[in-house]
Symmetry: C2
Subunit: 119 residues, 2 copies
DNA sequence: AGATCATACAACCGATCGGTTGTATGTTGT
DNA sequence: ACAACATACAACCGATCGGTTGTATGATCT
């Protein structure tokens, strides 16, 4: 499904979008709901004390980050959470933890060489 | 060291700060370095093509989020990554995954109930 | 003491963010 | 056909972001 020629967004761009999408409590709450079950955009909007347009923009941010996908069903747009995107963030954090473990153990040599190539 | 009376920041505030801090590639790179070993602020600043003040602000954002701590050593301020903060983010993501797993369990139950009804 | 280094912080600037209102475009039900 | 609903999107606004320059304060070294 992923085409590296058309989808030439860098890893850093992806992570920027993912963490930015998660850095808002309303979006985290929306994500919780759509991971549990499908919701239409207006069903989501009904849960929050803000305009429909505001919620729709939050959904768009989550969708752009890949944390949520939409499927049409009549006049409604049903949204569901993408657990694989959540896992990809968790994987990145696991790599950070691994770097820290290297600080204690000897994996350091490999990772530090990567990080310090410029000096 | 944590006092729930004085440090009355909500969980959502903490997560906002954590994800916001991680939503910048320069800060993620700084975090990788300080997780691997201690760095002074100016040692970090030397690695990036931006002003010292800019890097110092990035360090401050990471520190405010609890992802990094400082300790004085002479005229230098040595910074090191706080792996426990990284783990707290990973834990939150694991909870999201758990919500999704609940969704799967419920769909499974529904399908099982359907099958029961059919035969 | 004076010069230099390491850090902190304020003020400013263009861009982006999170919200609003208003409008346009389909889709559904009568 | 028409009214009501669901969604999308543009324009706007105050606040925050990520960067800059400039200045102030300590700590270190001759």
């Amino acid at each position: 499904m992923i085409c590296p020629v058309i989808d030439d967004e860098s890893d850093d761009d992806r992570l920027d979008a993912l963490f930015h999408a998660l850095a808002d409590r309303t979006r985290r709450d929306i994500l919780r709901r759509v991971l549990a079950r499908e919701h239409s955009v207006s069903a989501l909007a009904a849960k929050y004390d803000m305009s429909f347009a505001a919620v729709q923009k939050h959904v768009a941010v989550l969708e752009k980050a890949g944390l949520l996908t939409k499927r049409r069903s009549g006049r409604e747009q049903l949204t569901r959470g993408e657990v694989t995107a959540v896992r990809s963030v968790a994987t990145m954090l696991a790599e950070l933890e691994q770097i820290w473990h290297g600080h204690v153990a000897r994996v350091d040599a490999l990772l530090a060489a990567d990080l310090d190539l410029e000096d």
